[in-house]
């Protein structure tokens, strides 16, 4: 008798757990939306003359200088083959449907006295971890305006800094110790974003069918926005920026 009750109880509990899991798991909802969605992809190019990438002299920080076989250059306007642009953030700026919550943290590295990646895109309230991989102290200083501004010192070998931003904002990042270090945080209110690679290509995956405003942001240029309709499959959207040498 006792065994029978126990078995029934176990089955009921297990079935309830399964049901709850089915309806609440983010994996479930994601799988459903991906099935009925497409992607936005394209190429970022420029017209005009870009500024020259200038070499960065790190002689005063030998532990960093020796990490770079070839001289490091400025990355504000990073160009690729065929007039393409790297480090351009492309994201759904309006009409976004059900942005999913981030499942893992974002990681930013201070490596060889540079910020890696140069531009890091992540979502509002997403956990951000900042690592110092160098043999020297850094003092990261994101120049936030909409969010709280702070700067934190990080000697070599110390644990990563945990941070989080509550409002969408493009935040220039500098190091209070090494003046040449420069990067950007792109804090976005959407889970649908991508950054162009060294060939200027970006791809935003898992976009539900619909019409959106998609914006491309480049740190030295005005953002460019266009309407994009996703019907499923791959939707092409190229962006072009006008750049000047100075």
């Amino acid at each position: 008798m006792k065994v029978k009750y126990f078995l029934t109880f176990t089955v009921v509990v297990a079935a309830s757990c399964l049901l709850v899991a089915l309806f609440t798991s983010p994996a479930h909802s994601r799988a459903a939306s991906v099935a009925a969605s497409g992607s936005i992809t394209g190429k970022i190019t420029y017209t005009g003359t870009p500024p020259k990438a200038k070499p960065i002299d790190m002689a005063k920080e030998p532990s960093c200088a020796k990490q770079h076989a070839t001289p490091v250059t400025t990355e504000e306007v990073a160009t690729g083959p065929d007039n393409t642009l790297e480090y351009v953030v492309v994201y759904i700026s309006s009409g976004d449907q059900a942005p999913s919550a981030p499942t893992e943290g974002a990681r930013y590295d201070q490596k060889g006295c540079q910020y890696v990646p140069h531009v890091l895109a992540f979502q509002v309230n997403q956990d951000l971890q900042i690592y110092n991989d160098d043999q020297t102290s850094h003092n990261i200083h994101p120049l936030a305006k909409a969010n709280q501004e702070w700067n934190k010192s990080q000697p070599p070998g110390t644990p990563p800094i945990d941070a989080k931003y509550a409002k969408p904002e493009f935040i220039p990042v500098k190091c209070n110790i090494h003046p040449w270090m420069h990067g950007y945080f792109a804090v976005l209110g959407t889970s649908h974003f991508a950054i162009s690679d060294k060939d200027g290509i970006y791809k935003i995956a898992g976009v539900p069918a619909g019409t959106y405003k998609v914006t491309a942001w480049q740190e030295k240029s005005s953002p460019v926005t266009q309407d994009v309709t996703v019907a499923g499959g791959e939707t092409k959207a190229d962006f072009s920026f006008k750049v000047t040498p100075y």
Partner: protein, 266 residues
């Protein structure tokens, strides 16, 4: 007895410490500047003068401690007539005379550095000190520095001086570097300014140590007489990264300098 031991120990300490100075155990680094020999000469003369004063006073101290430290019975303690006032006045006057002598001897070295204008054929270089680095600017082929606009300062594009090459033609060929290159045996005029707060420009081998004072435009001049790589360090505590605020001075031949300038302007 203890007084005699003290006198012996004192003499030993005095002789040991004097030995290290006389033997130049820890001595000045090599001098690579034209004004350095005069400065070093004065340093030496001052050290010899104060060294002799030091030895005489310590030996006198040891002598008196040795002679008068034992117990004395039946002798009245003697004091200076009229108290110590006269002695104190004499000591103050003596120190005053010493300082005035030092200054009158040293004023020529000082004036050559600070009151004499730079050689008109000097190579003019601008140095900007900021937390926590030095940046150097060369005027480029046109010989003119572009104007500085603090609002245009943009570290991300290496525009540390706030130049405006889009609108200012003189700024277009300016060369900005994080290391200082100078040709040997050529007079250098260094225009100094600080971006944020007080720093210092110190090159031991050049015998130059000059503070940057925020808000002041300063000028110093010197000529390097030896090629080599030397350290430029900040010697005014300027914050978190002060310990790490340095740059390198590369003294090279005129040919090497021309090549370097060319490589920087590309």
């Amino acid at each position: 007895m203890s007084g005699k031991v003290f006198a012996v120990v004192l003499i030993l300490v005095v002789l040991t410490s004097t030995f290290f100075f006389a033997a130049h155990t820890w001595w000045l680094p090599v001098d690579i500047s034209t004004h350095g020999p005069a400065l070093d000469k004065q340093f030496n003369e001052t050290l010899i003068g104060t060294g002799i004063g030091f030895l005489v006073s310590q030996f006198a101290l040891a002598f008196f401690v040795w002679k008068y430290s034992g117990p004395r019975t039946g002798q009245k303690l003697k004091t200076l007539p009229g108290g110590a006032k006269g002695l104190v006045i004499f000591a103050i006057a003596l120190v005053g005379v010493e300082i005035i002598m030092l200054e009158s001897v040293g004023q020529k070295v000082w004036a050559d550095l600070y009151f004499k204008p730079a050689d008109p054929n000097s190579l003019v270089i601008q140095v900007q000190a900021e937390q926590f680095a030095f940046y150097f600017r060369y005027p480029g082929p046109d010989g003119k520095f572009g104007a500085m606009h603090p609002d245009k300062i943009d570290e991300g594009s290496q525009n540390y001086f706030g130049l405006d090459p889009a609108n200012d033609v003189a700024a277009r060929d300016d060369i900005v570097a994080a290391s200082m290159y100078i040709p040997v045996n050529r007079p250098i005029e260094l225009l100094m300014h600080a971006k944020d707060l007080n720093h210092s420009f110190y090159v031991r081998e050049l015998r130059i140590q000059q503070d940057f004072v925020a808000g002041l435009d300063e000028q110093i001049h010197f000529t390097a007489t030896q090629t080599g790589k030397f350290e430029i360090v900040c010697t005014q505590l300027c914050g978190l990264g002060h310990y790490n605020m340095k740059a390198y001075l590369n003294v090279v031949t005129q040919d090497e300098f021309d090549q370097w300038l060319k490589s920087q302007s590309q």
